[in-house]
Amino acid sequence: MADRFLNPICGTDVGIADICPPVGLPVMTLAWKAAEKGYDEALVENDAARGLYRSAIDTLGGLDDDEVRRRERLQQVSLVNQGITFTVYGGEEGAERIFPFDFVPRIIGSDEWASLEAGLIQRVTALNLFLEDVYGDQRCLRAGVVPFDLALSRSDFRRELVGTRPRHGIFTHIAGIDLLRDEQGGFLVLEDNCRCPSGVSYVLENRNLLSRVFPEIFAKYGVRPVDLYPQMLLDVLKFAAPRGRERPSVAVLTPGLSNSAYFEHSFLAREMGVPLVEGRDLIVENDQVSMRTTRGRQRVDVLYRRVDDEFIDPVVFNSTSLLGVPGLIHAWRAGNVTIANAPGAGVADDKSIYPYMPDIVKFFLDEDPLLGQVHTWIGRRPDEAKYIREHLSELVVKLTDGAGGYGMLVGPSATREEIARFAEAFDADPGAYIAQPLVEFSSHPTWMGDEFAPRRVDMRPFVLYGESIRVLPGGLTRVAMEEGSYVVNSSQGGGSKDTWVLAEELVP
């Protein structure tokens, strides 16, 4: 039957099939190769697909390499046109970079996710109880679970905030827990991010992109959606609003356009439908926070801040900061505004607190930790510092307050000169470092332009703490794009993948 809404002059009806012609008969032209070292997420030793991956690999393997390249180009154009970028510091100041995206999805079964989710909820509960305690009664310090001097000497411990308790006692409303799989395939926590964990915008954009460019991969899977995140986040922020604010006004606080995660700040503000403010847009009067609008000043109740503590209030912290709001901390302490995550939350994710996390879980929850973590030597302990110093070439050594892969030595892949340089820095202040064995973490098939090759991956699930604790089903899978590399950070050339959590334990 003729379409009544077809323009009779234009005539022809162009369907989706004409725009995106169907792929021809499957031609197995692209080979898949399992990782030689460590756990391979998708393949087993003879390069056969693991159960969960069979359908995805069959689908991708059915495309010839020209078609894969065509889709990859589409994907690139889409990333470039949409301006899905992050900003690189140093070198070319403020340069925008595309965050490389690999289209081979990472797939996690529902049972495995359920146990991972339980472990993440347990860990974030414990992290919050620890923070409430450190700024409150300090029971765990007095009990010796974490040494007093260690906790109180962390640069992110905010002495000024002792005695404050945020609404509902929640300090870290949004946490990103970095995980990797060890050689046996079990998940381990690599680090906690309790301040301003970033990356969730790429989780949502990756899903959007993959479903547009490779829709057929989804055909046989029930993949749990991730696009509910902005609503989950807004619920959490509203729940945290000051008492008595029925319809709280929420804003995202960003350091500005030159921040590496500005795309994400803007993305989250847009998706939640709230303003994206900078410090200069806000003013504190009589302990009330307002934003400057075209109709005068309007009260702000909740700030989802993406500005570090150090810069958030020049009156209390760094007095030279131009990014913050004078008087903000005072307004927060007065209970007139919620800051999420709460100031001072960074002490919980300090790398030197991390080794104590199993004890922290046990102390506060009287449970064994559900998630394992990587063995860690602590530089502030003289005997362990000596061990680190003697084994630099075998260990991964990190600054306790470093992030983004900066201030880190990957001993086994470092040159003699790099180790010698690092040793000098270490000797000057061993207490500023921790060390871990090099975990041969898992690899995942990744498209390298002409072949699928194994590349190492980690994962950052996002955990939201509001009325209850909820985990976004998925997370940011970061991938080291260089062969043999262990560095997945975007600032160091890493890319990302879409992470699927299946709704049912169904082997397609």
Binding site: V80, Q82, R270, V274, L276, T293, T294, Q298
Partner: protein, 316 residues
């Protein structure tokens, strides 16, 4: 979202101004290219004059050059006003600035609008790297700028952000049309009576096309083409979207939308005065000998409106 952040209002207002400026320049460069082809053999000095007009309509301190040769004037115009990174009013500067503003207020834009702006920038970026010829690039950018306009009008919600965007677009448009008229109309009026009529008409058509109004002029005025009728049309016609009257009336409506508590603001009062002047003093304004001064005076009024908006809404 309720009231807009002052800073965001300023960003979106400037985004509108930059996008309109880029659209205006692209169109004008295109017109200048075609006029050059048409008249260079007949009256090369008029082609040079037309290219020199850019320095009056888009005055930038880095672009004060005097030319006698058509090719020199053309090459300079194309390079300076299309890809001139030192020229703060060039297409490349305008789109770059529009995109930077768009990045800052992305939460107010739809995906479609941002993608179109970004795509336009990517064309120019390729041009800066020498990957496209200026004339090809001009076509691509002009198309992309139209794409931005389409995405904007078809996808953006008509809220306060839209109003500030529209204010930026209209204010920039009115300002440039006034500068266009101030430069070209007195020259054309002064043209001696033994003028080459085809050339004279070609230049008048080019003025109308620079303001995106040739076809609209034809529909209203027919074939008659004089400097006075062109000036009258671009100044007083209330239906053609690039006229001063149309832009001023639009600004008035926009300002009523964002007026504070029903109180007549300084900006609204200034725009209202301009609208009245255009509506009720048409004959007097057109009849004055110093038409350039009339346009210059109105352009100064527009500059005052801009300052008033900045004081009232952007620096709260």
């Amino acid at each position: 979202m309720s009231a807009m952040l002052s800073r965001s209002a300023e960003n979106i207002y400037w985004m509108g101004r930059y996008l309109e400026r880029a659209a205006n320049l692209c169109r004008s460069l295109f017109v200048a290219e075609q006029l050059t082809v048409e008249i260079r053999g007949l009256a090369p000095e008029q082609a040079v004059d037309f290219w020199s007009g850019f320095q009056h309509v888009f005055p930038d301190s880095t672009t004060t050059e005097a030319f006698t040769d058509v090719d020199e004037a053309r090459m300079f115009g194309l390079h300076s006003y299309l890809l001139g990174t030192n020229n703060t009013l060039s297409v490349v500067s305008s789109i770059h600035n529009a995109r930077e503003n768009a990045r800052v207020i992305r939460e107010y834009l739809t995906r479609e609008v941002f993608e179109q702006i970004n795509e336009c920038w990517l064309h120019l970026d390729a041009g800066l790297r020498g990957e496209e010829r200026p004339d090809t690039l001009l076509g691509q950018v002009q198309e992309a700028v139209f794409g931005i306009g389409g995405a904007t009008s078809r996808t953006l919600i008509r809220d306060e952000a839209w109003t500030f965007l529209d204010l930026g677009v209209m204010l920039e448009r009115v300002y440039r049309v006034l500068l266009l008229l101030r430069h070209h109309i007195p020259l054309l009026i002064r043209t001696p009576s033994d003028v080459d009529i085809p050339v004279h008409h070609a230049v008048l058509r080019a003025v109308l096309r620079s303001a995106g109004s040739l076809e609209n002029y034809r529909r209203v005025q027919g074939v008659e083409l004089t400097p006075q009728s062109v000036a009258g049309f671009l100044m007083f016609n209330t239906q053609t979207p690039h006229s001063v009257a149309f832009g001023a009336a639009h600004m008035q409506t926009d300002l009523l939308e964002i007026e504070r508590d029903g109180v007549l603001t300084e900006s609204a009062r200034l725009v209202g005065r301009m609208v009245s002047q255009i509506r009720y003093e048409e004959q007097e304004l057109l009849g004055r000998h110093d038409f350039a001064a009339v346009c210059g005076g109105l352009a100064t009024e527009v500059a005052h409106i801009h300052e008033s908006l900045t004081r009232l809404y952007f620096t709260v």
